[in-house]
Symmetry: C2
Subunit: 430 residues, 2 copies
């Protein structure tokens, strides 16, 4: 699927030729109702941050061929189909800086069935776009499909998500097992093949697989420890078959402060041998409103100490570090004080330094966030502290983006790009 | 793809059991970020036009099984996956009337990882929905993919369009060759197979195939008649391979009143033998601002008379009958008089009776429209006149919906459903 906007969010990048950055490119959806021959594409004008390049100065890439205007007009054999993006190359020595840019385009298309006096048709569009830029990488970067909730199955396929992750230069994909696997818990062999094919195609590593132990599956009784084990084992087998290294079971809770159901310990312990056999680390998430210093976390660490297992650890959801409340779920009703906020929305303000106590047990970090603005500033999470602490503590695992802000169409893609541009900018200062 | 709204536009229909209409159904997208077991779906409350059915009164259908609430809560082995709709059955003797209804739902989902005090999570949604209702059919009804411009390739696949057409009880599909065929003009054998498989799956007949003779393909010279013939022949071969009966070439024009390029006659004549061999009728469209009584139409009819061909005819676009201007393209700037409107937006007000003169030559009707309101009234096209005249003149061909109003997401689907409900209501009075 392409994005609805003519200007695509993905594909915006500098272009290097022979080791020199000679310009940048923008991907466009065909704004017409029909596909057309390349010679009917009469160039694309581009404006970025107020600087303009006329349609005579850019080049249009269609089906792998780059056409300066004169060649485009005389061309044969190439087309701009409705299901294929065009790429506009804009010459600019050194390219654009990492960050958010205001981009506008004038796409000029000729239609012989209109009187020539009214030609070409000009389709204008504008949109802020984020140039992520590469990195050597202090951390391993990934993205959770959760970031695209609402877009997936309506305007993005799983393959589109993979392409998006690849496009921002991240290499890890985190999924929700019961969510992203068609026919879960028994996907077809054909689907499993396509999963592996696409993982290879987009150069990705399967990271964490989200699962659930639905302790209150029925109203009249809770799951037994054996049933909890069976649920977890089922997901570990499937996760391993798909190449994942981590499984996060979301365990049912029994109290307002999110104590996990007491079956958790036995259910997990019965599954440790399987996890070891499948090279999977089971990692429940430490998630607001549970802070890092909390009996739940102590229990998990005691479990590791008691069993000596290498197949159980902590997943830290960075929502615990939130310093300002996200008001996205409140329909504009800003409360007078934080005490008036629903508990899950109150910032926990866990100091990043709390991480150091538990870091030896941390196997995965979900980079939870709600909004990064056009200056690449996160409005809620103190990333400089968090990243510095992770680096100081020697964390070498994944940072897996988990966008959880407003679910307007395409906002997840836009925000994940901004978060990754921000990470790469921050890395330089660590 | 599913629609973004929780309440799906498609699937809204009365349900007959043993020949009796016992209720109606509504299709829903899973509003959660995860898939879940059927026992965690705690019923769906429904309100239609102010009348409510509680979550205890409806039944939820998942993966082909219908569960009343008690059975749903105790169920095992069924799921509501994110890529599959649930269907809610609402009991109502005799069902709902054809037309637009205001529908609201409360979808109740249980999440064991939330404290039980805050359960279930209730997802509320509302939306007007159109119940199309069946028909014996004075005419053959179809839909053009053009109706879904902007949605296709962003939120609808071609198969989604086929499913949508089937869902409203229409049987014809019209496509744009250079637009809807991946890899046009040389689709893969695999794609052609999938086309035929889906045509059979959704019980559709390929009707009209839109093509172009791009006379101004290059700036320095026009297409020759031979090149025009080759373009048309290419599309006729492809259309025939896909099972179409009609090909509409959109021919380049040479004047402000849309005189077709003079190559048209020779280009078409050279193609008549191929069209006869392939059982294709070539049918240029009579489209505003060209009315029915016009030299262009006379020329087309003379061509038929002179050649005696049965493989050329007229396609009438019902935009010529428009009585009130559609202001959709004007960004809210309503002009003082019609003379201030751009020519293509001025209503031509061709009397429907003009059809009778040319009906022997009419082989296809594109049911162009811009908006049908919640009372099933078209705001621009006088359908009662048009349908009555077509019936009076003995037209037995296709009426193929061509929605051309505003391109907001999903509006095409909504409007096509309304148009078909309107057609079926009007049929009764013809």
């Amino acid at each position: 699927m392409l994005e609805r906007d003519i200007i695509q969010n993905w594909g915006f990048a500098n272009v290097a030729e022979n080791g020199r950055t000679t310009g940048f490119r923008i991907h466009l959806r065909n704004p017409n109702y029909r596909g057309l021959s390349s010679s009917l594409v009469d160039g694309v004008g581009v404006t970025v941050d107020g600087r303009s390049w006329s349609y005579e100065e850019t080049a249009v890439e269609l089906q792998g061929r780059r056409f300066p205007l004169a060649e485009l007009r005389a061309s044969t054999g190439a087309r701009w189909n409705l299901d294929e993006p065009a790429s506009v190359f804009v010459p600019l020595e050194g390219g654009l800086e990492r960050g958010v840019h205001r981009v506008a385009v004038d796409v000029r298309l000729r239609a012989p069935y209109y009187p020539v006096e009214f030609q070409p048709n000009v389709f204008r569009a504008e949109r802020p776009l984020t140039l992520v830029g590469g990195t050597d990488g202090t951390f391993k970067y990934g993205v959770s499909t959760y970031s695209y909730t609402g877009d997936m199955n309506t305007s993005m396929t799983l393959e589109d998500v993979m392409a998006e992750i690849h496009d921002i230069g991240a290499t890890g994909i985190e999924i929700l097992g019961e969510g992203n696997i068609p026919g879960y818990p028994a996907p077809s062999a054909e689907w499993i093949d396509s999963w592996h094919r696409n993982i290879a195609k987009y150069g990705l590593t399967p990271t964490n697989y989200g699962s659930w132990i639905d302790s209150r599956m029925w109203l009249d009784r809770d799951l037994t420890a054996q049933e909890g084990h069976e649920a977890l084992a089922r997901d570990i087998r499937l996760a391993a078959e798909l190449g994942f290294s981590f499984v996060r079971p979301k365990i049912g809770v029994v109290s307002l402060d999110l104590q996990p159901h007491p079956i958790w310990e036995e259910a997990v312990e019965r599954t440790l041998d399987l996890a070891a056999e499948k090279n999977i680390v089971i990692c429940p998430e430490i998630h607001a409103p549970t802070p890092i210093r909390h009996p739940v976390v102590d229990d998990y660490i005691s479990f590791v100490e008691r069993t000596g297992t290498k197949n159980f650890g902590l997943l830290i959801d960075t929502g615990v570090f939130m310093t300002k409340p996200s008001l996205d779920g409140l329909d504009g009703k800003v409360p007078e004080s934080e005490e008036d906020l629903p508990v899950p929305l109150r910032p926990l303000r866990v100091p990043a330094s709390d991480l150091l106590d538990v870091l030896p047990y941390v196997v995965f970090v979900q980079a939870k966030f709600y909004e990064v603005d056009e200056h690449l500033e996160d409005l809620h999470i103190p990333w400089t502290d968090v990243l510095r602490t992770l680096k100081q503590g020697g964390y070498e695992g994944w940072l897996s983006s988990e966008y959880e802000g407003r679910r307007e169409p395409y906002r997840g893609s836009v925000m994940v790009r901004r978060q990754h541009a921000m990470f790469r900018r921050l890395e330089a200062g660590l």
